[in-house]
Every structure is written in C-alpha cells, then in structure tokens.
C-alpha cells in the first residue's frame, strides 16, 4: 500500500502547490501565451499597439525559402551534434567503466564543459578553429583553402557542431557512466562465463541495459540542440556565412531583435516549440518501445 499524506482541508494542499504553480505560470505559461498572442498579431516596432492578423505571420514565414533553409540547418545540426555527443560519450564511458582507477577524476573533469556558458565556450572554439592561426592554419597550409568557416557554410556548420558536441559529451558521459556502473558486475561476469567476449558483452548485455539512459539523453540532447545552440551560433558565426548556420533559435533572435519583426519571431518560436513537442512525441512513441526498463 502506498503511503500518502492527506490533508484535512483541500486548501492546505493547494497552498503547498502554489509556489510551484506560480513559478511555472510566471516563467512558462504566461510568456508562452504571450508568444501565441503576438504571433497572431502584427506588432509595431516602435510601440503603439498591435493589429490582429490571424495566421498571416505563419503564412508568410512558411512561404519563405530562408525559413525552410533554417529548419533544414537546424535538423542537420540536431541530428549530427546529438549523434556525435552521444557516441563519443558512450565510448568514453564504456572504456572508463572497464578501468575504474581514477574515474572520479574523469567525472569531475568531464562535467566542466557542461558548466561553461555557451558564449564563453564558443569564443574558445572560435580561436581553436580559426583558419588563420593555430591547428587549422597548419592544415590550411598543407591543403590551401581546406578550412574557412567564414566563407564555407559547411565548415561553419561543422565548427558549431563541434563546439556544441564538446559541451554535451561531458554531460552525456556522466549519465552513461552512471548507467554502466548501475549494471551489476555479476551480470557481466555471468556473460563472461557464458563465453561472451568484451564486444559481444557490450552489445548483448550492457547496451540493452542502458537503453533507458540512451533514450533519456536522446530526448534531452535533441531538445537542447534546438535551444542551447543560440550562444554558440551567435559568437562563432552569427548565423553565417550566407545563412548556413542560421538555426531556428538564432533566426528568431535575429529576425525579432535585429530585424524588429516581433510578430514573425513570435510565430517562429511557436513553430519551434511545436517542432520540439512533435519530435519528443515521436521519440516516446517509436523509440521508447525498444527501451528495456528494469
């Protein structure tokens, strides 16, 4: 029987919930509601009220090739950076799990990147990946014109992906390592007794047992890649060159605050929100089925 706390009067229960409800309302539902309202109106850039325009904002955005380009770039960014950050973290965690000496050090060191603010991190990577100095300059000397994120859209996209993945490798690593460590050692030993080698054990035993963590990180990484990429893009490429890295979240900012198209930006943020919701639903519907919860 589940143990429950009961209140004599329902008002006491409500009182306990009020701080949390207030927070959620103030910082999520209210702004989200405002965004929905703005997206259906035309906002004057200099103030002075807004005009109801229905779905016109959405129509104009969705008929704009630039916007579709931004969606494509965002999807490419999300898929690649999530894939990269998760695979690298998984490999690192699997290796760390086997040799535990000093793993506390990895744990501490690898969580730091996640604690670095995106713009600071982007600034570092801007220097690291600069075409005219440092490592990439050497590469460019061997193959002239090989690398220039300022000119080549693909290079710019790669830079942004590398910076973002670097930040999330540490985050993912912590979760993966914890998941590996949660697998009872005797299971691995039993598999070893059953004749299973290292790779086979990983495939047959460890991987299936960490699927809940993989799934959780997949949802988080994809969601974050749509939102947390802003600071990195802003510092490293500012959406360029030629809109190659103009991800949805960055376009909302540049259209809204640089282009002063508040209503269009509001509509874009509604679309982004719907896209993330849709992707999360898809993941829960189709991928979660393959997850083995213990």
């Amino acid at each position: 029987m589940e143990k429950r706390v009961t209140f004599g009067r329902w008002t006491i229960g409500i009182l306990f919930a009020v701080p949390q409800l207030l927070l959620i309302f103030t910082f999520f539902y209210w702004p989200a509601g405002q965004a929905v309202y703005w997206s259906l109106t035309l906002q004057q850039p200099w103030g002075g009220g807004n005009i109801w325009v229905g779905l016109d904002n959405f129509r104009s955005i969705l008929s704009n090739a630039d916007y579709w380009n931004s969606i494509t770039a965002s999807l490419v960014f999300a898929a690649t950076s999530t894939g990269l950050a998760m695979v690298i973290a998984l490999v690192l965690a699997a290796l760390t799990d086997r040799q535990l000496a000093g793993s506390w050090l990895y744990r501490v060191v690898l969580i730091w990147p996640y604690g670095i603010a995106a713009p600071a991190l982007a600034m570092a990577f801007r220097f690291i990946l600069a075409p005219e100095a440092g490592f990439m300059a050497v590469v460019n000397k061997v193959w002239p014109g090989f690398w220039d994120p300022g000119l080549d859209g693909a290079d710019a996209m790669a830079s942004v992906i590398i910076a973002f993945s670097w930040k999330y490798v540490g985050y993912n690593f912590i979760f993966f390592l914890a998941a590996f460590q949660a697998i009872p050692r005797s299971l691995i030993e039993a598999a070893a007794m059953d004749g299973s080698g290292v790779i086979r054990r990983f495939r047959d035993i460890q991987f299936p047992l960490i699927t809940p963590t993989i799934f959780f990180l997949l949802v988080i990484n994809i969601t974050e890649s749509f939102q947390d990429s802003f600071g990195i893009v802003d510092i490293m490429t500012a959406g360029g060159p030629a809109n190659a890295t103009n991800l949805m979240v960055y376009k909302i900012y540049s259209d809204g605050f640089k282009g002063l198209d508040y209503s269009g930006a509001a509509a874009q943020s509604i679309i982004l929100m719907l896209l993330i919701i849709a992707l999360t639903i898809v993941q829960f519907r189709f991928i979660e089925r393959r997850v083995h919860y213990r």
Binding site: P184, L187, E189, A190, A192, M193, D194, D204, R294
Partner: protein, 368 residues
C-alpha cells in the same frame, strides 16, 4: 568431468593479501564445499578458479592444464552466482540459451537443448517469462539451467542459496545434490552456512582468514576438528570452549575451580590449552550425581525436537543440547556429565588440535 589442482595460490588486492597460499586437490566428479565466515577468501578462491579474478601467485590447473592465463570461457567452468545474475532483458529461454547463442549453436539445436534443461528443472511453463516475473526459487533454477546447458566440466556455486527463504533453501539443497548425482560434474560450492556445507559436501574445505584450516569429509571435520576455529565454526550451537592450564596430574580448568584428570598428557606443565566439548555430547544429570559438575541454568531455547540449555559454569558460558523432556527453571542448578573421549584439546597459542589421548604421543616425564 575434471579434476582441479590448486597449488600455492595467493591473492593480493593492492597491498592487502586475502588468500595466503592455498593447496587443494579436487577429484573428478567430487562435490566439494568451501566453508568459512565472510571475508575468509572462499569466494575469491572460487572466482580465481572461474577466471573472474586474477591469480596473484601459484597455479590452478583443471584436468592437468594450468588455467592461470585462460579467459573464463576457455576454462570449461559454469558458475551460479549468489544474486543469480540473470540477464533482466532476456526471457528465461534466452537466459538459459545465451551461452549456446554465443557459441553459434544453430537455433534448432539450441531450442531443443533449452527444452531438455527446462524439463529437468521444471521450468518449461516459464520459458517466455522475464526474470522479473519469477519467484526467488524459480530464478535460482534458471541460474542453474544456464550453468547446466553448457555441460561444463566444472560447476562453481557462489553462495547460491543465501538469498532464498529457509524452506526453499532446504528444497534447493536436495535438488542440487540430485543434480550433481545425475550430471556427476566436479562441483565446488562456496557457503558460509555450515548446515548447507555438511549436507551437500563429499568433502569439506574449511577456510579462515585466507588459509585452509581443514579438509575432510563432513563427519571427519565434525568429529575431529583440526583447529579451535573449525571446532567452534562447524556445529550449532558452537562447541563449548573452556580455558585450562596443564598441571602435574592433568588440566586445571576455569582458573583452577575444576580439574580434569588427563592420564596421558603430552604437554609441558603450565601450557595453556582450551578444552572443547560439543553441546550434543554433554548429558544432564541430577545435581549432586557423582562425577557430575554443577551449573546454573541461564536460558532455554526450545527447538521442538530438543532444546538448547544455556548454563553458567563457574562464570563461563556453556551450552547443552538435549532431547530429553526436561525443563529446568532458569536459575536452578543442574548437573552435567560427559565422557573424556568427547573432549577436544586445542593449543591456546596456535589454536591447533592437540591429540592428548592419542597413544602415539610420547609420554613425557612431567617436571615440577
């Protein structure tokens, strides 16, 4: 079937040594139980045989082949783990058949062998279930099936019954015994439960503090414990131990309040000894009976078929097991009798057994 030869095996973890040079020989088809308190190195020894722990020093050979550097899968051992270690994401059939799948056995043969094992263990109706949906006893049987299906040369059991309730433990114990008779594979069974050890073993290895204290049949170990440790560890309730000192004409016990007339003592006068007697070997008598020692009753534990009577013998705790239907009141005085041949003597210094009554011990002229 395979014999196991263990020579000078040691195990160190960083700076601490947990197994201090063990030499053992297990014959082919034998059921050996390694008994000892937790932390005595028995599981470590088993895991070294399995290949799950590196052997720091010495050699382990299975069927004459030294296996020190072989991977677990190359040693032909199967192991049943204490917590069963079933793969939680696989069905019972997949769990049992996993080793065959790894070995690349065709699916038709695999299915057939899984069925055969399931029939023996009465698991046929559970093959599609996940381990989560099984009871403790069923999980235990699946773990056994997983070991059996490989038809291993050696079966290793790492306290496999300690997670079961008392009734199931007794049942599984006899099932393991039957299974062994049927498969006749060399089996090494590790436990800290002495009843389990006594009932299962062909031969018992008693370990303590990383060393082997005694090897022998359960009856030998019970009737002639090689050390003070074995004497008190095997048997329940534990053997009574009384401190004594060798005197000119025997042994004085309990600080001189009692005297034991040992006729053929091979010990120097003044040597400290411990005299042991099993609670089962003590008989109760009416207080004042000639030859009986008086003791005060402290507590009685009712066991149904008999009872354990804890008494105070001149300040030393002492216990008696009796099947007589006597119910002495706590606080009352009773008499205790025992035969000299039931006494065990151990050196206080080394803890080793002293064969005081053994005829071969040369009679020494006592000095003093």
């Amino acid at each position: 079937m395979a014999s196991i030869t263990i020579r000078g095996v040691k195990k160190n973890y960083a700076k601490t040594q947990v197994v201090h040079g063990v030499d053992l020989d297990f014959a082919s088809g034998e059921f050996v139980v390694i008994l000892g308190p937790s932390g005595c190195g028995k599981s470590t020894l088993l895991r070294m045989i399995a290949g799950l722990e590196e052997i720091s020093d010495g050699t382990i050979a299975i069927d004459g082949t030294v296996v020190n550097k072989l991977e677990p899968r190359e040693r032909g051992c199967a192991m049943v783990f204490q917590n069963y270690a079933l793969y939680p994401h696989m069905s019972v059939a997949q769990n049992i058949g996993y080793s065959l799948k790894v070995a690349g056995v065709p699916i038709a043969e695999r299915t057939q062998r899984i069925q055969a094992v399931a029939r023996v263990l009465e698991l046929e109706h559970l093959l599609d279930r996940k381990p989560m949906a099984l009871s403790g006893g069923q999980r235990q049987r699946v773990a056994m099936g997983r070991a059996m299906i490989r038809e291993p040369k050696v079966f290793l059991f790492d306290e496999p019954l300690s997670n079961l309730d008392a009734k199931l433990r007794v049942q599984m114990r006899s099932e393991i015994r039957k299974l062994h008779r049927r498969l006749n594979a060399t089996s090494v069974f590790v436990t800290h439960d002495q009843v389990e050890a006594m009932t299962l073993a062909d031969r018992l290895v008693v370990m303590n503090g990383g060393r082997v204290e005694q090897v022998g049949t359960p009856a030998e170990v019970y009737s002639r414990p090689a050390s003070r440790f074995v004497a008190t560890f095997v048997g329940a309730p534990a053997m009574n131990m009384l401190e004594g000192e060798v005197t000119l004409d025997g042994i004085s016990l309990l600080g001189g309040s009692r005297k034991l007339n040992v006729s053929r003592s091979g010990l120097a006068v003044g040597a400290k000894v411990e005299v042991g007697i099993r609670p089962e070997a003590v008989r109760m008598a009416a207080p004042g009976t000639p030859g009986a020692v008086a003791a005060t009753v402290d507590l009685i534990e009712e066991l149904g078929a008999g009872r354990v009577i804890y008494v105070d013998l001149d300040g030393a705790p002492f216990s008696v097991v009796t099947s007589e239907t006597v119910h002495p009141e706590p606080g009352s005085t009773i008499g205790l009798q025992f035969a000299e041949s039931d006494l065990h003597f151990f050196s206080s210094e080394t803890g080793g057994r002293l064969d005081v009554f053994k005829a071969s011990v040369p009679e020494r002229t006592l000095q003093g």
